[in-house]
Symmetry: C2
Subunit: 338 residues, 2 copies
DNA sequence: TTGAAAGCGCTAACAA
DNA sequence: TTGTTAGCGCTTTCAA
């Protein structure tokens, strides 16, 4: 049996309400009483029951972080940023993984509508226009902040990176390095990040009058390998590749190694990735690096602003730029080795 | 205002208790009434308030996962394993990061003592014998399962890997490849995993009459780089390195690249690491790979067994073996390229 | 400055 | 089979 306010009140010959107020340092209570209560509570190691106060106050002190997966280094870094802010604010972080499954996302989000969490941070599943669960959440007045993968049809705050510009810069970089046949490894679904990256790629290729080529990967690793193997062993093999998300880029390396396709000589590769160890790959991978930690922090900060001040979340949009790290996978002179 | 049992009861002219039982599919309630209640609840999109039932039943439906960090790929994979089991069991997963800070670990764990979570999975912070917060948690009858980094002075269940044996195997492998001066990159603190790996290393070197050399790294990246740089540029440079945890191995690669120390010719490297992309490093890194996902799953499975059946957690210990993946960083013939 | 009492939404013992 | 009631631990009027 754990120690409750009731027990403290009884032992100290006070009313529960007095103890409650004293613990919250209310001005209604005399300094002397407060001191007695504090001391005794500390002695008994009193820890408030979170459910009782949540029930009463209608706030849980929890936030939800909903992610497609956590193996991806981007999301690991984001959780780091989020948890650090949440902890500072005295909130607890609940993590939910959707594994790119819309149904799972729906059932997870649905449960948020009855108070388990006070606010939600999420990066949505790639899918074709199934957003009712999100609109409902939004309608239920539960603050929602998107980061990285946003749902553009819902008018709430979001933290993103400059996907169009950085994809344009990535393609431009390949073109400058002499690539003529540049393929874009995409993913099916309606993800805004993919769409914007695709658009940036397209724009750059059109600006330079080069042919576009989009290859759709999947969530299945074996299928992906097959798709990429086919791409790289065909007669019209591209001489430049842009991997739109982290997990489509690694297979390219594997297949190139397996088939002795020389990077960057036969083919140049650039990947959207947060990988710390991109520089240690063979050869070091040129990346467009998203500021994951900062994006997580920024998203959490906005969410808490909303939670604390009943601040309105409509339409705020924070853009944190990505960085192009040029390394040997796109450059025949080793540029960077650190 | 969200929909409550009270509202359903009122609208349907039933008592709240009847509705409550009906929703839980109690045999006390007639099929007809149940049908009415279910239908109406579905129509109103009723979602139970988790705090009310937690308060009443004394269970939260949450578990805590306490980790040193999440950037490490081992812990990301573990979270994956844990969350997947938790979700299947209808539990929610709260994530806490200690950032290798004992004080933070203490304050986090302390809060668990009043019901916010029903059970705890943790990988402890490396520290020198400060375990009161854990003993107290254990004394409070909150089920606790350690995974990977265990606290051996507390008699509860744990899921670990065979650290001694795999460190022995790693050292033996280097010896077989011709290394004579093998250094072990350790970490300060009292972590059992480090201790066991160290012991395995020591045993192997003694068995082969080779000199031991232990180098202590730190949590600070810059300091680490300095320590390793000194190690690798001194005249008595080792010709073999065992990195005891993931984050001490990467700097070795960087420094070797920077100083043009040829792996595996000048030095052979093997690291304890869960990295998927070890095979893509330059050169591919030989690793001792821990079964992170499986360990997370196993730990969660035990915890739920304890939560559901009041099963006793004392002393159970599951050992899931690590795997030695030989790659080019320890071997002059390329063994594996996939 | 302190206390009594109501109630957050739900469950469970007991009564009808 | 259904309803009444008490209460989980806490906060918050309102009264003393």
């Amino acid at each position: 049996m754990s120690v409750t306010i009731k027990k403290i009140a009884k032992d100290l010959n006070l009313a529960v309400s007095t103890v409650s107020k004293a613990l919250r340092d209310s001005h209604e209570i005399s300094a002397e009483t407060k001191a007695r209560v504090f001391e005794y509570a500390a002695k008994l190691d009193y820890i408030p029951n979170p459910y009782a106060s949540s029930l009463k106050k209608g706030r849980s002190g929890n936030i939800a972080v909903v992610l497609p997966e956590v193996a991806d280094s981007f999301f690991s870094a984001a959780i780091n940023g989020i948890e650090s802010i949440a902890h500072d604010k005295g909130y607890h972080t609940m993590v939910y993984l959707t594994h790119e499954d819309v149904q799972r996302e729906q059932s997870i989000v649905r449960e948020f509508r009855n108070g388990r969490v006070d606010g939600v941070l999420m990066s949505i599943v790639a899918n074709d226009e199934k957003y009712e669960h999100l609109t409902e959440l939004y309608a239920n007045k539960i603050p929602l902040v998107f980061f990285d993968r946003v749902c553009e049809s819902i008018e709430t705050a979001s933290v993103v990176t400059n996907d169009f510009d950085s994809a344009y810069a990535a393609a431009k970089h390949l073109i400058d390095q002499g690539s003529k046949r540049i393929a874009f490894l995409s993913m099916p679904g309606e993800l805004a990040i993919i769409k914007h990256r695709h658009q940036g790629y397209t724009q750059a290729l059109r600006d330079h009058a080069l042919p576009e080529r989009v290859v759709f990967c999947t969530d299945n690793e074996d299928e992906n390998n097959a798709i990429i193997e086919q791409l790289l062993t065909a007669s019209d093999r591209p001489d430049g590749i842009i991997g739109s998300i982290e997990k489509v880029t690694m297979p390219v390396y594997k297949i190139c190694h397996a088939h002795r396709i020389a990077i960057p000589y036969d083919i140049k590769i650039i990947g959207f990735s947060h990988l710390q160890i991109a520089s240690l790959l063979d050869p070091p991978l040129t990346t467009v690096t998203q500021p994951a930690f900062e994006m997580g922090k920024a998203a959490a900060t906005i969410l808490f602003k909303a939670l604390e001040k009943k601040y309105n979340l409509k339409n705020e949009r924070i853009i944190i730029p990505s960085v192009l790290n040029v390394r040997a996978s796109t450059h025949t002179m080793s540029i960077e080795n650190k």
